[in-house]
């Protein structure tokens, strides 16, 4: 007992399939660990009893066909789950129990995975530290000098839960870095697939043109397996890509000989810690050792990505979040007339960061400002995408750090929105261009916090991204330093 939760997803599923481990034993081990890990505040809703009975059913009926058979999995609380409360970590959705299951999570359960519960995140995925959650911040399983550290965000419950072995793998969502940055902050692997690779149907929307679900796992193989499980065209999502089904795990290999890897000079930032630059340099030499060809490239509009993002994402969010009005679901405050009811509901139901972004989004779309802000941002978005289109004529993938710093202390950046936003400086351009990118754990800073490297690929070329990461992973030989201090 106890060692099961250390297994990777690929290993656990193969042991369950070969009956070396029962689905029930796997589930029970995770349940036991979850029960003892409340301090990390990773779960918003637990479905442990249902999980146990579902695991039993898998064993009793020998339901071991699925590629995730018996895998105990908790998911970000942004995925709507049938008959299980879904809140997006917001008070405004408190008590909302969907009558439907998101496409991505239904694929998990169809393939044999067992739902453990719903994971904490920044409210409506708006944040980079998980501090905007209505259910309190998640705590990073890594600790510095007894001080609590953020797990990154917005998929902070996901990253912490994988790092702390509270779920064998998970799915998060990434709008501007929300999978990759928390993955880097907690020493796990996180992949944002190409926009359109995974269906957005049933995921609480933040910014529709940027949101994308993706796996967060212990290693690259698990990531490939999870992507196999959750990707695919969905006729319920008009923006989902009608591409052929691929087999990422089957085609996973470390042969990157001759692969051209670009190093963008614009990602060298002024006050980036030296250890991040050093790690990046190491990444470059590991790539070379694996036979890749390194090329210096330029993505000239990189510095405009964050400002562009902070127009487009709030604009879309201001509209996407208009449906939270206290009429059909969730929280409702009273008011003497309809408008007062709306205003009170939304004022009390949303947290500050969400309100800030709704306000900004409303402003940049409002009459007289649309051209100056929103339209301009869309134009710059084109330039940013053009930058990538151009360099991808010369290179097969791009290597950068995932974030400009390691995880920070809880509360450290809470009062300064801009310094918080700067966390996403390396991840945001990828969302604007709709590209696939992975973050893999690559080392530690001097205080022992994990650091990540990011590999960016061409649209729908997740295989190259995964293979490069797989090659790099072997060179890095990352070992988790999580100490179970909270138990």
């Amino acid at each position: 007992m106890g060692e099961i939760t250390k297994l990777t997803l690929v290993n656990l599923v193969s042991k369950i399939k070969s009956k070396e481990i029962s689905a029930l034993d796997a589930c029970s081990d995770y349940v036991n660990r979850i029960v003892k890990s409340k301090k990390l505040n990773t779960f918003v809703t637990e479905t442990l009893e249902q999980a146990i009975s579902f695991a039993k059913k898998i064993d009793d009926n020998n339901l071991k066909e699925g590629i995730l058979s018996g895998a105990p999995i908790a998911v970000k609380d942004l995925f709507c789950t049938k008959n299980v409360e879904t809140t997006a970590s917001s008070k405004i959705l408190k008590g909302f129990v969907p009558t439907y299951e998101s496409t991505v999570t239904s694929k998990l359960w169809e393939r044999g995975a067992v739902l453990l519960g719903k994971l904490n995140c920044d409210e409506f995925a708006m944040g980079s530290s998980n501090e905007t959650s209505a259910f309190g911040n998640v705590i990073n399983p890594y600790k510095v000098n007894d001080e609590n550290i953020v797990p990154g965000g917005s998929s902070g419950g996901c990253s912490a839960a994988v790092a702390a072995d509270l779920t064998v793998a998970t799915v998060g969502t990434d709008t501007g870095g929300s999978i990759r940055q928390p993955a880097a902050f907690t020493g796990i692997v996180g992949l944002k697939p190409t926009y359109g690779r995974c269906s957005r149907w049933g995921i609480v929307a933040f910014a529709s043109s940027l949101d994308q679900a993706g796996p967060m796992t212990k290693n690259v193989s698990d990531c490939a397996l999870m992507l196999d499980a959750i990707s695919g065209f969905d006729e319920k999502d008009s923006t989902s890509a009608n591409t052929k089904k691929e087999e990422f795990l089957k085609n996973l290999n470390r042969n990157i000989k001759g692969l051209k890897i670009g190093i963008p000079k614009e990602y060298i930032v002024d006050d980036m810690p030296k250890e991040i630059q050093d790690l990046w340099d190491k990444g470059i030499s590991w790539m070379k050792e694996s036979g890749a060809i390194i090329k210096d490239i330029s993505l000239p509009h990189t510095k405009y990505a964050l400002p562009t993002y902070y127009i487009i994402a709030p604009a879309e969010a201001s509209s996407n979040l208009a449906r939270y009005d206290g009429v059909r679901y969730g929280f409702r405050a009273s008011g003497k007339d309809l408008n007062e009811m709306y205003e009170n509901t939304r004022s009390l139901g949303f947290g500050n960061e969400v309100k800030r972004r709704i306000m900004i989004g409303t402003y940049v779309l409002s009459s007289g400002y649309y051209d100056a802000y929103y339209l301009k941002a869309q134009q710059v978005r084109r330039l940013i995408k053009n930058d990538f289109d151009l360099v991808f004529k010369d290179v097969d993938a791009i290597l950068t750090p995932t974030a400009p710093s390691s995880a920070f202390k809880i509360g450290e950046k809470k009062d300064d929105p801009i310094s918080m936003y700067l966390n996403d400086v390396f991840t945001v351009p990828i969302n604007l261009a709709g590209l696939p990118a992975i973050s893999i754990p690559a080392g530690f800073d001097q205080s022992g916090l994990p650091l990540g490297l990011q590999i960016i690929g061409k649209p729908f070329d997740e295989q190259t991204v995964l293979n490069s990461a797989y090659a790099l992973e072997e060179k890095i030989g990352f070992k988790s330093q999580v100490k179970d201090w909270w138990m």
Binding site: T99, Y100, R200, S238, S319, R323, V327, N339, L365
Partner: protein, 488 residues
């Protein structure tokens, strides 16, 4: 009729005023399912029983467009002789309202599916061409019920997400009469195309009416007010009259018109400012990121073109040019799809001109009297065409035909059977008629002498006698001929 002059000007204290009207018609697309969801569009179901997760804007729901609705919009565009835009986009129109679950309406703002077109009106003072600015697809909202409870309003989302075509007309209309003709003509075109049933009672056709006024002779447009969601032609006309007078009064008293959205109160026959539309000027339109641009290939458009039926204007020309109908008769026949369908059924087996006459004079007389629509006509098209053929081949006279028609209205019976049973068949045997006429001449020698001495008016006396002796069934033409010969 072209000598009738347009003269709708309103009298103010300071002179005559011209009324400028532009309509934004919302026409429900005839389709089984909604624009972006698979819910039924059926009318009159129990509240909230035709609501999908998408229509209720549940978290994470996404729109997927209904292909048929696109075809219907293109078809309507073609019927309005409009430019079909190969590239169009869906935008979000953001506002809060209880019957708008998403907090935005998916509509088309910058790039509508259909561009400029036109509608031709037959007015007593001649033809008038009214410009169409655009046609775009959008979602309908749900329904709020305000009168069921003193403190609350109730929301029914059955209509939420139904496909609408918004047809934006240019401000080319100048009178309530023109507005009436415009709506009727537009509705008729859509009914010919089967793209909108035009049922105003069920809300399938409503209009936002934009009204402004200016002094007669002025070229400048005044500030307009938009009267929202008026759902009958009569109400549109009343609302326009009220609103125009209101604006004239304000301007003549030295005031200015506020551009605003107003509501027409049908009970009080007045318009008033709408509180709920206070921030109507700031809809924050932007392209819906849940949808991709709609790109139509020319083949798609050509295929729709091939299925277009003959439209009212073309049919009118055909009836006038090929069958010699008057412009007046032709425009009545084409005015409604149902009328024109009925007419086609009658005329395909009989005489085009007689068919038009009989429909317009006799059939419509009866329908008006009984307050019926043509689809409820007591006389079927087949029977009417038989009647016309009986007149045409001389079996009955026009006069007898009217008697037969009356009986047909009672029982919708085959006129041949009626004639047979009641012996109304025209007496057209010249030999029989000659015997009868010879008898009349023999018995009225005094009148014959008078006639021959110059009192030619007496001719009708002999005709009358002949008709009397044939019980009204004598062929008048033949009787005339025989009498002329015999009395020479």
């Amino acid at each position: 009729m072209a000598d009738n002059k347009f003269d709708y000007y309103l009298d103010g204290k300071t002179g005559k005023w011209e009324v400028i009207i532009g309509l934004e018609v919302h026409a429900q697309v005839t389709s089984r399912a909604k624009l972006f969801s698979g819910s039924s569009t059926k009318f009159g179901s129990d509240p909230n029983t035709q609501v999908s997760l998408v229509d209720a804007a549940m978290p994470g729901m996404l729109p997927v467009i209904n292909k048929f609705c696109i075809e219907q919009a293109v078809k309507t565009g073609l019927g309005l002789k409009a430019k079909i835009n190969r590239f169009s986009k869906f935008d979000r129109k953001n506002y809060f309202y209880a019957d708008l679950p998403q907090g935005y309406q998916i509509s088309q703002f910058k790039f509508p599916i259909v561009g400029e077109g036109e509608i031709v009106l037959d007015m007593p003072y001649g033809t008038k061409v009214v410009g169409i600015e655009r046609l775009h697809l959008e979602q309908d909202a749900g329904k709020s019920l305000h009168d069921q409870d003193p403190e609350n309003s109730f929301v029914d989302l059955n209509r939420s997400g139904i496909a609408l075509m918004e047809i934006v007309g240019k401000p080319d209309l100048r009178s309530p009469e023109e507005v009436g003709q415009y709506v009727k003509k537009l509705r008729s075109i859509m009914r010919y195309l089967n793209t909108c049933d035009g049922n105003m009672d069920e809300g399938s056709l409503r209009a936002d009416v934009n009204v402004s006024v200016r002094k007669q002779g002025s070229q400048q447009l005044g500030t307009r007010c938009e009267i929202k969601n008026v759902n009958s032609i009569k109400f549109m006309q009343q609302a326009i009259e009220y609103e125009a007078k209101r604006q004239i009064d304000i301007i003549e008293d030295g005031g200015t018109i506020n551009q605003e959205t107003r509501l027409y109160d049908t009970k009080k026959n007045e318009t008033r400012s709408m509180r709920s539309k206070e921030d109507a000027h700031d809809y924050r339109y932007f392209p819906d990121p849940d949808l991709l641009p709609l790109v139509l290939d020319s083949e798609f458009i050509e295929n729709i073109k091939k299925t277009l039926p003959e439209l009212p204007d073309e049919k009118k020309h055909r009836l006038m040019n090929d069958f010699g109908l008057s412009s007046y008769d032709a425009s009545i026949i084409i005015s409604e799809k149902d009328i024109s369908d009925y007419y086609e059924d009658v005329a395909k087996n009989s005489d085009y001109k007689l068919a038009a006459n009989w429909m317009i004079v006799e059939l419509f007389g009866i329908l008006n009297k009984e307050g019926k629509e043509i689809k409820d006509s007591p006389v079927s098209a087949v029977n009417l065409s038989k009647l016309i053929n009986l007149i045409k081949n001389g079996t009955i006279s026009g006069k007898i035909a009217k008697t037969v028609f009356e009986q047909m209205v009672q029982r919708n019976e085959n006129p041949e059977v009626i004639i047979e049973k009641s012996g109304l068949k025209q007496q057209s045997d010249p030999k029989e008629l000659e015997i009868i006429i010879d008898n009349i001449i023999k018995n009225n020698q005094d009148k014959v002498i008078e006639y021959k001495s110059g009192k030619i008016k007496l001719f009708s006396f002999f005709v009358g006698q002949a008709m009397k002796d044939t019980a009204g069934k004598g062929n008048p033409q033949l009787i005339n001929n025989i009498l002329s010969k015999k009395l020479k």
